[in-house]
C-alpha cells in the first residue's frame, strides 16, 4: 500500500506533540523522576588515567550519615584504565550525603604509567594499554593500482590532516532511576535511546525475564548515539536499589559524562592524491589512524563520496587511556568527509579548477546519488552565491579575508524490518498508537501521530502517541537515522488495519459495504458523503475497542541519502578568529513526514557540525593523563551569538518522495565542518590541517606557511 497521494498532514509543518510540556517545564525526564522513598546515587570514578586498585575500603562510606547502600564496582587488584573509569557507587538519602560518602571511600592506587594522547600512545616503548601494542593495524584495503594511478597524475597533493576526539555532551547526563517493584520486577526511568536494549541489559544482569523489566523513557535529554543501554552506572543504580530496598536515582555528574559517557574518535590521515589535467582523480594512497580510547571504533570511510578507481589505504586503531568511543551522530562520516573534502579541495586548487566543478567531475558514474548531488549542488551554489567566490587567498588586501567552501556527504539509514506498532481505537473515539520506541528529540512521537491522523482523517492532537515503554510491541532504537523509516511502515499498517476493522464493524449499520467508507475531517463518509461523526462511529464499537498490530511493509521507506553544504566565512588573519557568515544545507531524505521537525533536525545537524568545525576538542594532559576541559566552560560549544545565517533546503522532488520515508538525524551533520575548513582555506590561502578552526590552529597554519 503506498503513502496517500494527496496528504493533508504529511509533509506540512506540525509542531511537535510534546512541545508544550517541554516548553513549560512540565515534562518529566528520567532525571526528574522521584519515586516514593527515592535515594540519590553518586558514582566514585577514577581520578587517574591508569592504576591498580590496591585496596578499596567502602566501610567509611557506609558509616556516613544518610548512607543506605554502597557497592564496589572494581575489585581490589583490578584496574582503572582511564580518568573517569568507574570504581564504586553510593546511595544516600540526600545527594549531598552521597557525595560526602563517595569522598570517604578509601582507595589505594598503585599508579601505572599512562598514555593519554595519540603521540604518547604511538611512541616507541610506550606503556601498553592493550596487550601487543597500542597500535592495531587493520587490514590494508586496495582497489585497482594506486601507485599507477598516482604516476599518471598531472597534479599530486600530499597532506596530513587531523581532527581531535570530541565528546557527546548530552545535556541530560547518562543515567536512570531504578525501582524494584518486587523481588523479581524492576521499573527503570532511563535516559536512553533504546528502551528495549536497556530492559534486556537489566534483565540479563539480574537474571529475570525481560518481561519483568519496565524501562520508561517518556522524554529524554539527548543521546547522539551514546545512550543505548543501562551502562555500568545504570546497573549500579539497580544494585544499590536492591541492596537498600528503595528506589535509587543515578545520573552522572558533568565531569564523568565527558569522561565516560562516550566520545567521537579522533582521526589523523596522511593522504596523497593525484588528478589528471581533465580533472579526474587518478589515484590515492592513505594512511590513517584514530583513537577510541580503550576501545576500537576509530575507523571511518575513505575515500568518501568521490570515485577513486585506484586507491589503497591502511588504518590503525590507537588505544590509549581514555574513555570508550561510542557512536556519535553519523559515526565515522564527519571524519571521512572532512579529510576527503580537504584533499579534494587542495587538488582542485592545484589543478587551477573551480573546486565545485572538480567535485562534480568525480562523482561515481553508476551511483543513484550522482544525479541528486548535481541537482543539490546547483541549488546550494545559487543560495550561497558561489559566483562571488574568488580564487584561493585572493579575497581582499586587508587583514579580514572572506572565503567560500563546500562539501558533499552521504548516509545510509534505512529500516529495521522487524518492528511493530499497535493501533487502538477506543469506543470513546480516542486513538492510541503504541510501540517500544522512543523520542530522543527527533520528533518520533509526533511522526507516528501524524501518520495515524492522516489515515483516520483526524487532527494530530487527537492521537495519543504512546512510546518510551519497553513492554510495548518491539520498536526501533533511535540510532543511525533508522527510527522513522523503521517505525513509519508498521504504524501505517497498524492504523490501516484498525481503520479497516472499524469500517467492517460499522458498515452494516450504514447500509454500506466497508469498501464504500472513508474518513476525512473527523467524519465517516459513505461513497464520499459525510454520514457520521468520528466519535459516533466509534461509539458503535460498544464495549470492544479495536486493537490491531502492524508489522513492517515494503515500499514505504527507503535507504540512502545525499547532501551538500556550503559555508561562507571571514577570517581575521591577525587574530586567527573565524567568523561564520552563512551556511547552506541542501538535503534529501525521501518523503518528509513533518517539515517543521525535519528542518529542526537539519539545523541541529548543521549546528553540531559547526561545533565540530569551530570549537570542539577534548583536551588531555599528557603529564597527568586527565581531561582538562571536562566541563562546559572550557569544552566549547556554540551559543546563540555564534549562529550564522543558516539556510536549509529540502531536496524533495516527486521522485524523492516516491522513495518513501528515510531518516534525517545523521546526514546533515556530516559535511559542515568540511565545508567550513574549505572556506577558511579559500579565505586565507593556506590549508588549516588541524581541526577545529580555532585561532591557534589558524595562526599556526599561517605561520608555518610563511616559514
Amino acid at each position: 500500500m503506498p503513502w496517500p497521494e494527496n496528504p493533508k498532514l504529511i509533509g506540512t509543518r506540525i509542531p511537535r506533540l510534546d512541545g508544550m510540556i517541554k516548553a513549560t517545564g512540565k515534562a518529566k525526564y528520567p532525571s526528574d523522576e522521584h519515586p516514593e522513598g527515592m535515594l540519590f546515587g553518586v558514582m566514585l570514578y577514577s581520578p587517574v588515567p591508569h592504576a591498580k586498585i590496591k585496596t578499596l575500603d567502602l566501610k567509611p562510606a557506609e558509616a556516613m550519615p544518610g548512607v543506605k547502600a554502597v557497592i564496589g564496582i572494581v575489585k581490589e587488584g583490578g584496574l582503572v584504565r582511564y580518568h573517569g573509569d568507574d570504581i564504586a557507587a553510593v546511595a544516600a538519602e540526600t545527594e549531598e550525603q552521597a557525595r560526602d560518602a563517595v569522598r570517604a571511600i578509601k582507595v589505594e592506587y598503585e599508579i601505572l604509567p599512562h598514555v593519554a594522547t595519540e603521540p604518547q600512545a604511538m611512541a616507541d616503548g610506550a606503556p601498553e594499554v592493550v596487550r601487543g601494542g597500542n597500535v592495531k593495524k587493520g587490514r590494508a584495503t586496495s582497489v585497482g593500482d594506486a601507485d599507477a594511478g598516482l604516476a599518471k597524475a598531472d597534479a599530486v597533493v600530499e597532506m596530513t590532516l587531523n581532527v581531535p576526539v570530541i565528546t557527546h555532551v548530552c545535556l541530560e547526563t547518562h543515567g536512570l532511576t531504578a525501582r524494584w517493584d518486587s523481588k523479581e520486577k524492576i521499573t527503570a526511568w532511563a535516559s536512553t535511546q533504546a528502551v528495549g536494549a536497556t530492559a534486556a541489559e537489566l534483565a540479563g544482569r539480574f537474571n529475570i525475564p525481560v518481561g519483568d523489566v519496565t524501562v520508561l523513557t517518556e522524554v529524554m535529554g539527548g543521546g547522539f548515539g551514546s545512550k543505548f543501554g543501562a551502562d555500568v552506572w545504570g546497573i549500579a543504580a539497580a544494585e544499590l536499589a536492591q541492596k537498600a530496598g528503595k528506589p535509587v536515582k543515578m545520573f552522572l555528574d558533568r565531569v564523568q559524562e565527558h569522561l565516560a559517557g562516550g566520545n567521537r574518535p579522533s582521526a589523523t590521515a596522511k593522504v596523497k592524491m593525484g588528478a589528471t589535467k581533465d580533472g579526474k582523480i587518478s589515484g590515492m594512497i592513505a594512511e590513517t589512524y584514530g583513537t577510541g580510547g580503550i576501545s576500537r571504533g576509530a575507523q571511518f570511510p575513505l575515500p568518501y563520496v568521490y570515485a577513486v578507481a585506484d586507491n589503497k589505504r591502511t588504518h590503525s586503531d590507537v588505544f590509549l587511556n581514555g574513555g570508550n568511543a561510542r557512536a556519535m551522530r553519523a559515526p565515522g562520516h564527519p571524519q571521512g568527509c572532512l579529510i576527503m573534502e580537504s584533499v579534494v579541495d587542495e587538488l582542485a586548487d592545484k589543478l587551477g579548477m573551480d573546486p565545485m566543478e572538480f567535485r562534480l567531475k568525480n562523482l561515481a558514474p553508476n551511483d543513484f546519488r550522482t544525479g541528486i548531488y548535481e541537482a543539490q549542488v546547483a541549488i546550494g551554489a545559487e543560495e550561497i552565491g558561489w559566483k562571488n567566490r574568488k580564487a584561493r587567498g585572493q579575497s581582499s588586501k586587508g587583514p579580514i579575508k572572506t572565503g567560500y567552501g563546500m562539501a558533499l556527504h552521504q548516509w545510509g539509514g534505512g529500516a529495521a524490518p522487524d518492528k511493530q506498532v499497535t493501533c487502538i481505537i477506543n469506543p470513546d473515539g480516542s486513538v492510541e498508537v503504541r510501540s517500544a520506541t522512543q523520542d530522543i528529540g527527533t520528533g518520533a512521537r509526533t511522526i507516528l501521530a501524524i501518520i495515524a491522523a492522516e489515515l483516520l482523517g483526524l487532527k494530530v492532537t487527537d492521537i495519543k502517541s504512546n512510546i518510551g515503554n519497553s513492554t510495548f510491541p518491539p520498536g526501533q532504537a533511535s540510532g543511525g537515522s533508522t527510527t522513522t523509516p523503521s517505525m513509519s511502515p508498521p504504524c501505517f499498517a497498524a492504523v490501516s488495519a484498525a481503520r479497516d476493522a472499524l469500517f467492517k464493524k460499522i458498515a452494516p449499520g450504514l447500509n454500506a459495504e466497508p469498501g464504500d467508507l472513508s474518513l476525512a475531517d473527523g467524519k465517516v463518509l459513505v461513497k464520499g458523503e459525510a454520514k457520521l461523526d468520528w466519535k459516533d462511529a466509534c461509539r458503535k464499537l460498544g464495549m470492544m475497542p479495536i486493537n490491531e498490530l502492524g508489522k513492517f511493509e515494503e515500499g514505504l521507506s527507503s535507504v540512502g541519502v545525499a547532501g551538500c553544504q556550503f559555508a561562507e566565512v571571514s577570517v581575521d588573519i591577525e587574530t586567527g578568529v573565524v567568523t561564520l557568515k552563512k551556511i547552506v544545507a541542501v538535503q534529501d531524505s525521501g518523503l518528509i513526514i513533518d517539515k517543521l521537525t525535519w528542518e529542526s533536525q537539519v539545523y541541529g545537524g548543521v549546528i553540531g557540525g559547526l561545533n565540530y568545525g569551530r570549537f570542539e576538542e577534548r583536551v588531555m594532559d599528557p603529564t597527568t593523563g586527565v581531561m582538562l576541559n571536562a566541563d562546559m566552560e572550557l569544552y566549547k560549544l556554540a551559543g546563540a551569538s555564534d549562529m550564522p545565517v543558516i539556510v536549509v533546503k529540502a531536496y524533495e522532488t516527486p521522485e524523492m518522495k516516491a522513495r518513501g520515508v528515510i531518516g534525517i538525524g545523521e546526514p546533515p551533520t556530516i559535511g559542515t565542518a568540511a565545508a567550513i575548513g574549505n572556506a577558511v582555506a579559500n579565505a586565507i590561502g593556506v590549508r588549516v590541517a588541524n581541526w577545529p578552526m580555532t585561532p591557534i590552529n589558524v595562526l599556526n597554519a599561517l605561520a608555518s606557511a610563511k616559514s
Binding site: V48, M220, E599, A640
Partner: protein, 207 residues
C-alpha cells in the same frame, strides 16, 4: 593556584567549595584538576571531615510558600528539584556555564545551580512552570517555532527569554542573540529559539 590551571580563569571551583565544607573540598579550590588527581591518587587527600546539619527553610516559589529542610551548602537548583519536586529547571553543567537551571529571583534571571538556597529566603522565586501558556506566551512561541528538540535546555531558554523580553520588549535579532548567550543547546535548536523569541516579543505587544 597556578597559571596553567584552566579553572583559575573563571574561579569557579567555588562549586566544589560549596559542596563540601571540608578540607578535601578546599584542596580542589587551591589546586588544578591535574594536581587534585595526583593528590587523590597518591593518598595526599586529607581525612574527610563533614560538617552537616540541615536547616528549615521557607521559599516563595511560583507564588507559594514552601518549606523544606536543606543544608546550608544546598543550591537553589537542587533544593527546587530534590526537595520541592519543581523539576522544570535542569541540572546540566552545574557550574554557571549553560543556563539550563535558570530561575528568576526577584525579577532577575539567575543560574540556580550556583545560587545557595539559603540566600533566597524572603525573595520571590519564579520558575517556568508558573509562566502563562496562552497564544502570547513564551512557551507557546517555542512550541510553534519548534525551538526545542530533546527539550532539556528548553526550560533555561524559555526562562531566560521571558526575563529578557520583560526588560527588552522590542529587541533586534542581535539583541536576542546576546540576551540568550548565557544558554547552551546541544541539539542545535538556536534557529527555532531565535525565531520564538522574536515571535514572542511581537505577540506580547499585541496582547
Amino acid at each position: 593556584m597556578t597559571d596553567q590551571d584552566p579553572k583559575s580563569r573563571s574561579g569557579s571551583s567555588r562549586r566544589d567549595f560549596l559542596r563540601g565544607s571540608s578540607l578535601a573540598a578546599a584542596t580542589a579550590v587551591l589546586t588544578g584538576p591535574a594536581q587534585v588527581a595526583l593528590d587523590e591518587a597518591t593518598g595526599a587527600e586529607p581525612e574527610v571531615k563533614v560538617l552537616t546539619g540541615e536547616v528549615s527553610l521557607t521559599l516563595k516559589v511560583n507564588g507559594e510558600e514552601k518549606t523544606c529542610k536543606v543544608e546550608p551548602r544546598s543550591t537553589l537548583l537542587d533544593t527546587l528539584r530534590h526537595r520541592l519536586d519543581i523539576t522544570g529547571p535542569k541540572r546540566v553543567c552545574d557550574r554557571a556555564s549553560c543556563g539550563a537551571c535558570t530561575a528568576i529571583v526577584d525579577g532577575v534571571p539567575v543560574y540556580s545551580c550556583t545560587t545557595l538556597a539559603v540566600t533566597c529566603t524572603g525573595k520571590t522565586i519564579e520558575t517556568l512552570e508558573s509562566f502563562g501558556t496562552d497564544a502570547n506566551s513564551v512557551p507557546h512561541a517555542f512550541h510553534q517555532a519548534d525551538g526545542l528538540m530533546c527539550g532539556y535546555c528548553t526550560p533555561g531558554f524559555v526562562t531566560a527569554c521571558k526575563a529578557f523580553l520583560d526588560k527588552n520588549p522590542n529587541p533586534t535579532l542581535d539583541e536576542v542573540k546576546k540576551g540568550l548567550d548565557g544558554n547552551i543547546c546541544r541539539c542545535g535548536t538556536y534557529m527555532g529559539v531565535l525565531e520564538a523569541a522574536l515571535a514572542a516579543a511581537k505577540a506580547m505587544k499585541g496582547a
